[in-house]
């Protein structure tokens, strides 16, 4: 409670007490740009850790027997991999990093609504992450997967599980504080004269995401508190030997964790909507339907959780309802994809790294979405639930979707962050390696799942050896793909080509200031951007001779 009230005291910042220069990135800075970059770099460090864990998993799976590490360590590794990647990499980066950096610009403000709360939200993350990872070295980490289903989570070693719960609670708190901040900033801190329907699309995505965060994260927190009671105080909420009900945990858990997928993906949708128009030199197609589809995804996202539980003994009517509700999420999502394609159609597309990663995202996410609609069908899901098919689907959504967008966004906004361009050749190499490695790693896993390989196993039927080895090679490529990227961001920060203030000739407000921006974001008054996507020449002035008949049709003539 008191934390929520804290910002009341911190209105004027004494600049001299805050470190300047690079040191401010290690300080309790309340500048939203500093906090955004803190989120980004911190998240990326955890991504490297999570990636190393993934590498350990793929090494283990290169052979059908459990020979690389002890079986209980394998379960710790897969639990940490899931938790780190979700709670310390994707959620903080797509929300915290880009949200904090961009949202105040987009609403024409000089900072977030609650700057202190913002810094608190960030500084919860590193201790929580270190706590989580240190549990591996101190007592052994949790072994029950990132889902922590009881009774497994009650019967595995308690210390690791309790540390896991603590750190997820901290990260959930950070996420809620961030969500409150975004909602208040977008709704209450808009520059006078700026209408909601003139906001860049990322604001809408973050508004929808934050609504999901605020509504669903507390349920996870409450559930994990109950779970910790089961472990520490020997209550029986989810312990069947004491009369508890394990399926109730699954309902409560997925009430958060399904929306969590949208918490990871909706901001990515928003970021892509910012990147595509700039590099295609065209307005974002169908702004209004994009907004409505985001809100439709938010609404539907809250009522589809039980599709993770089709084999848990749910009654038939529930299966039917959740099938239909889940499948209908494909409609608003489909709208967004068709709108992006229409945005590209007839553009002047620069095929740079940001664009390539965005298009890689579209390809991967379409595949993940198609398998998602299939998974929503109860009879289909009964066969492939908890198999590598689900692993593949999920990674196509969160890696092929969100992580590709994170990279696209880094290529797009790096000049804004640093004032220097990233090396385009290294960027394309990074894209090629990532795209090939990713598809090589996760594409074949669809087949594995269909043919009988369950997820979260350290050993498997020898008939799957070859495909698993292909998958591991893909993982290796993905690991290698990080190297040119790392070299690129570090080297370009010092020796990159000077970007100028607005290298992409973009129209959204963050580009209408210097790069990197001053502490107060703009010298003088914030610009009023009524058409963030006002690219392009009117259709009348367009050279019709160069356009095909399809162009004319899609322009509505």
């Amino acid at each position: 409670m008191t934390i929520a009230l804290q910002p009341e005291t911190g209105t004027e910042r004494p600049p001299r007490l805050q470190p300047t220069g690079w040191l401010r990135y290690f300080s309790f800075s309340v500048d939203h740009k500093v906090i955004g970059l803190q989120y980004l770099v911190c998240g990326f460090l955890f991504y490297l850790i999570g990636g190393a864990l993934a590498g350990a998993i793929r090494t283990e799976l290169a052979s059908p027997v459990a020979d690389f590490m002890p079986r209980d360590v394998y379960n710790q590794v897969l639990t940490l991999h899931g938790t780190v990647m979700i709670f310390l990499w994707i959620v903080p980066v797509v929300n915290g990093a880009f949200g904090n950096y961009l949202i105040p610009f987009y609403v024409g403000a000089r900072d977030m609504a609650f700057p202190r709360l913002n810094a608190v939200a960030f500084w919860l993350i590193p201790p929580a992450g270190l706590l989580l990872i240190s549990s591996y070295f101190l007592t052994g980490a949790a072994q029950s997967g990132w889902t922590a289903y009881p009774p497994l989570s009650i019967t595995t070693p308690a210390t690791g599980q309790i540390i896991w719960i603590l750190s997820v609670l901290l990260l959930g708190g950070s996420s809620i504080f961030g969500g409150i901040n975004f909602i208040a900033t977008i709704l209450k801190l808009r520059r006078p004269g700026l209408k909601l329907m003139q906001l860049p699309m990322y604001c809408w995505a973050m508004l929808g995401t934050s609504i999901l965060v605020v509504l669903s994260t507390p349920v996870l927190a409450g559930t994990l508190v109950l779970l910790s009671f089961d472990i520490v105080a020997h209550t029986g909420f989810f312990n069947p030997t004491l009369g508890g009900n394990v399926v109730v945990y699954q309902h409560l858990f997925w009430f958060y964790s399904h929306p969590a997928v949208y918490i990871m993906v909706l901001p990515a949708f928003g970021l892509v909507s910012e990147i595509l128009p700039v590099h295609a030199r065209k307005p974002l197609f169908g702004y209004t339907t994009m907004v409505y589809s985001i809100m439709a995804i938010v609404g539907l996202g809250l009522i589809v959780w039980a599709h993770h539980m089709f084999t848990s003994g749910t009654p038939p009517w529930m299966r039917l309802f959740f099938t239909i509700a889940t499948a209908f999420i494909a409609v608003p999502t489909g709208i967004k994809f068709f709108n992006w394609l229409a945005t590209l159609w007839g553009g002047r597309i620069s095929l740079n790294s940001a664009m390539l990663f965005s298009c890689g995202f579209i390809v991967n996410f379409v595949l993940g979405g198609i398998t998602g609609v299939a998974l929503a069908q109860v009879p289909f899901d009964i066969h492939v639930h908890d198999t590598y098919f689900v692993v593949a689907h999920f990674h196509y959504i969160v890696f092929g979707g969100s992580v590709f967008v994170i990279f696209a966004s880094i290529y797009h906004w790096y000049p804004k962050f640093t004032g220097r361009m990233l090396n385009e050749h290294l960027g394309r190499l990074h894209f090629a390696l990532t795209f090939i490695g990713f598809n090589l790693c996760f594409g074949p896993q669809h087949w594995l799942g269909l043919n009988g390989m369950p997820r979260r196993v350290a050993e498997y039927d020898p008939q799957f050896t070859l495909i698993n080895q292909i998958s591991s090679v893909g993982a290796l490529l993905m690991a290698i793909s990080t190297l040119p990227f790392l070299w690129n961001v570090i080297q370009s920060a010092f020796a990159g080509q000077r970007a100028g203030d607005n290298p992409w000739n973009a129209l959204t407000p963050e580009w209408l200031t210097s790069s990197p921006p001053p502490v107060e974001n703009w010298v003088g008054e914030a610009p009023l951007v009524e058409e963030p996507y006002g690219f392009g020449i009117p259709a009348e002035a367009f050279d019709l001779a160069a356009a095909s008949g399809r162009d004319l049709w899609s322009s509505g003539k």
Binding site: P151, V246, G346, H385, Y460, I537
Partner: protein, 256 residues
């Protein structure tokens, strides 16, 4: 059009699934073909459109201007809202039909279990052939899942076995309960999976068709040896199964 035909060819001719060995497996494969066809058409269509746009509308070196300023097109947007909605509705209804044919909507058969099992069944799948008329014929088997094995108990002959032996063509009803943590009973060749939950007995009914040995896989993370928690279902012709059954049945139990 070409795309649709190509998609249908892919759906018909590329088989990604293991052999089918139960009554509901071919029904499942039918659904898979439809989903695979629709998925292929959509995926190839969208990716094709994307790649075409990237090539056709890429910025050439002499172009410095912007693209055409199209902010949106309401009829077009309504069109691509409506089409996925129709497709999704079709897929939903179709899979409902498939689920119905697999027997998913049949009420669970707990009323018909004998006296020892009057305990509540919490959920599960009454698969295809176990219709009301045939239920008397169904072979009841108790499944106990524990870290890290399945145990099969045949109440009729009081047999306890580590392998599941079932006769082809006869409906089987598994009544499953876990001793410790959640497990899942999965036979890929049957296309069936059901969680085995401690404290909440579940049920799984199916009719095997194709004799052979198929793996039973635990599909829910249950501890360090989760990956090793496997067993075998042996589907045998009726005669072979009878022989197995009588050689293993405890004599007194079989006589009474």
């Amino acid at each position: 059009m070409l795309l649709v035909l190509g998609g249908m060819w892919v759906g018909q001719n590329i088989n990604l699934l293991p052999v089918d060995a139960s009554v509901n497996a071919p029904i499942y494969d039918e659904l898979f073909q439809v989903l695979f066809t629709i998925g292929t058409v959509l995926f190839v269509g969208i990716v094709g459109l994307l790649v075409f746009s990237l090539i056709r509308f890429r910025r050439r070196s002499d172009q410095i201007g912007d693209g055409i300023a199209i902010e949106g097109n309401l009829p077009l947007e309504i069109f691509w809202t409506a089409v996925p909605a129709v497709v999704v509705l079709f897929v939903g209804l179709y899979s409902y039909d498939i689920y119905d044919r697999m027997g998913g909507m049949v009420p669970l058969a707990h009323d018909h279990m004998d006296g020892a099992h009057e305990e509540r069944v919490w959920g599960g799948i009454s698969s295809g052939s176990v219709q009301a008329g045939e239920i008397g014929n169904a072979l009841p088997i108790d499944v106990t899942a524990m870290q890290f094995a399945f145990l099969f108990h045949y109440p009729d002959g009081d047999i306890i076995s580590g392998e599941l032996h079932v006769p082809a063509g006869r409906p089987i009803t598994l009544r499953m309960e876990a001793k410790d943590v959640i497990h899942a009973f999965w036979v890929p060749e049957f296309r069936l999976k059901q969680d085995v939950i401690p404290g909440q007995p579940t049920q799984l009914s199916f009719t095997p068709t194709r004799p052979g040995r198929y793996p039973i896989v635990c599909a829910e993370l249950c501890g360090p040896y989760h990956g090793g928690m496997r067993s075998t279902v042996v589907v045998e012709e009726q005669d072979a199964w009878d022989a197995w059954f009588s050689s293993n049945a405890k004599t007194d139990a079989a006589n009474t």
